[in-house]
Amino acid sequence: MATRTMVLWCPDWPVRAVTWLEGLPLRAPVALMRAGRVLACSSSARVEGVRRDQRLRDAQSRCPDLVVRDYDPTLDARAFEPVLEAVEDLAPGVQSLRPGTCAVRAQGVSRFHGGEVNAAAVLAERLVSLGVEDCRFGVADGPFAAEQAARRALPQDSLVVPVGGSAEFLADLPVAVLDHPDLVSLLHRLGLRTLGALAGLPARDVLTRFGDDGAWAHRLAGGRDERAVSARKPPPDLVRRVVLEPPLDRAEQVAFSVRQTAEQLVGALADRNLVCTAVRIEVVTDDGRETERTWLHPRWFDTADLVDRVRWQLQVRAGYDGVDGAVSSPVSEVRLVPDEVDTLAHHADGLWGGPPDARVTRALSKVQGMVGHEGVASVVLTGGRSPAERQTLVPWGDDTRSAVVPERSAEMPWPGSLPPPAPATVLTERRPAVVLTAAGHPVTVTGRGALSGDPARFCARGGRDLQPVQAWAGPWPVDERWWDPDHARRYARLQVVGVDGSAWLLIVEEGQWFLEAVYD
């Protein structure tokens, strides 16, 4: 027998989460992008003609004042947390199905509030007072039918499918609601357009023809959703906040005030045998603005580390004048939110001393205290065509894996990159250079990738002193992203050795020579 389930559904949750967390006006047209296409948009944007899977440019042409943000799944989950807590207050045993959708067992809550409709109304009232004005409830046998019911309910209202009526309710729905694109497309081609048609087939035939996925869909369609609602375990409340009254405007003062709270946080974690490896610091200023940043630690945070991170976060904020540590507007509240915790056992020092690099980690954290978080970096080799692209600096303590995004992987072939040896001096910003032929004309590269003349003299150091070329090779042309008119680049590289034995890597782009790296 399927569990009687109540599902709460908040439409367009990713968009809601962004408007909420960023404090955008409720009616603002918002679109969230993933991989250059619209993933979700607000209803006001939809009215203007923005659609899912549209390209950014098309969406902006339909709706010029569109607010565009990158989709961030963690943001969704974080914004949904208060909603889950509010529901948990009234109906214990909440299961979050995904951000924006959660399920509760209907039995207890409906008995307490005198009926399923009443229970949904009470929950809706609570959520609206929280600021979630578009919430819809569905009650049915099993989470699947209940979710479908919620999707067909009106805002702030509920749709109750009577006990045992799930199969009948689902029968008219299109198979597309199964959220399994491959299976749905197959069913469509076989002429099975509604869940009722699928449910009407014998179970054994469905299993032999469509396999396990088909059998699962067949059970859902027949209203035999046996999944139970498993209540989530609320995370322990480890968030610590410091309210500063009166607000402070110096980073040092704020850091000093935070110290005791940071100690409490580390202590509270230790009581649970936990350590914190990532912390989110939220700073609220006097003018109501809120900034936040997540900090990772190569080992785990102790009190001094937490205080350091608070200070750095205040220092890097816009408006910091760097001299006396004043921040742009006084800070009224600081919140420390442990983002990732781990059991102490994974990190504890052994009896014979800490891990070999613990001393190094501590010393580098100390140096970060002097030169700032970004001032100390690890180097990761990445993929790329220019020497500067082939290495990436990652602030010490941050996850070096995050720097190696798939499109920058060193494993990929990089046609146009030069074979070893790699230059020992890699300029972070290329410098203008001059390459002349024997006749004194600037050397250029033709459209077919040939030089206009043999290089005879060049200047790579800056200034006006030209030195004769002893040996050279190239040009090696590179045609980057030719399919993308906005980012396409064409250039060519040249290795040059001067008569003094110095070797240089030059690059020519649009007729202008630059120094890219030095082999010294």
């Binding site: 690099d357 001393r359 190094v360 501590r362 010393a363 580098l364 100390k366 140096v367 002097m370 030169v371 001032g375 100390v376 970096a377 690890s378 180097v379 990761v380 080799l381 020497p387 082939r390 290495q391 600096l393 010490w396 046609p415 030069l418 074979p419 070893p420 040896p421 790699a422 230059p423 020992a424 001096t425 890699v426 300029l427 972070t428 043999d454 040996a471 050279w472 090779a473 090696w476 290795q495 050795v497 034995g501 070797a503 790296a517 030095v518 082999y519 010294d520």
Partner: protein, 257 residues
């Protein structure tokens, strides 16, 4: 030249009792005994040995007194970032942590090819005003620190840092100028091979490196910096005599792919 070093030490020791020229004793067991006695004297006196060796690439041993970098030593390198990275490579391979301070143009790929382990390397591209305290904190725990001071270094600052170096056992490689370094290394000549006029590619460099110790005669060595195998190695005497490098070059066709 580590084999020639101990006899010299014994020579001066023996001078206390015997005047005039004498040949170093050939008996190795006596040398060993003297050295172990010296070691015991140091232990009883409670001072650190004057110089703990730091792992160094074998190719560089001919340039450095004692054949290796020494903990607490200061070495200046001019004219070659490759040489500076090579100075750190030996220690890095042996498991020490390295730092590169004040060198925003640090070529990590080249350093990794020489043997620097990037997982145990940190970079402070632009420490600004706090380069000296940052370096002091780094030498506390790291094996080798490569530093390019952003401004002229005063004698007092150098002395204080040197004291800290000796205490903690790190080696400092300075790109640029430094007051009274232990060894001054400079590339005085060299040529790249593999590049023609309009063909080939840079493959390897032969460089003449001159090392000037604080006391003693300068030495000069021909090194591959880097060699055709991306490593630092000695130029073999044969190649040095004929002047014909001729490392195995990849065919030009490879460049086109």
């Amino acid at each position: 030249m580590s084999s020639t070093d101990p006899p010299v030490r014994v020579d001066s020791f023996e001078h206390l009792f015997d005047h005039g020229a004498m040949t170093p004793p050939a008996d190795v067991s006596t040398l060993e005994r003297v050295r172990s006695l010296q070691e015991r004297v140091r232990q009883v006196q409670g001072t650190r040995p004057a110089s703990t060796p730091v792992d160094t690439l074998p190719a560089l041993s001919g340039l450095l007194p004692g054949g290796t970098l020494h903990a607490g030593g200061t070495y200046t390198v001019s004219g070659s970032s490759t040489l500076a990275a090579a100075m750190a490579a030996g220690a890095s391979q042996a498991g020490a942590w390295c730092a590169v301070v004040g060198v925003p143009t640090f070529g990590a790929e080249a350093a990794a090819a020489l043997g620097v382990d990037l997982a145990r390397t940190v970079v402070l591209p632009d420490p600004g005003e706090s380069w000296l305290p940052a370096t002091q904190a780094l030498v506390d725990v790291l094996g080798v620190v490569v530093l390019r001071p952003p401004s002229r270094v005063r004698e007092g600052e150098a002395t204080r840092l040197a004291a800290r170096l000796r205490q903690r056992g790190a080696a400092l490689v300075v790109l640029g100028d430094w007051p009274r370094p232990d060894v001054r290394l400079e590339v005085v000549g060299g040529a790249w091979v593999g590049l023609g006029s309009g063909h080939g590619r840079l493959a390897a460099r032969r460089a003449t490196v001159r090392a000037t110790p604080r006391s003693g005669r300068p030495r000069e060595l021909d090194l591959w910096l880097p060699g055709p195998d991306q490593q630092v190695s000695l130029v073999s005497p044969h190649a040095a005599r004929t002047g014909d490098a001729a490392p195995a070059l990849a065919p030009v066709r490879e460049m086109a792919s």
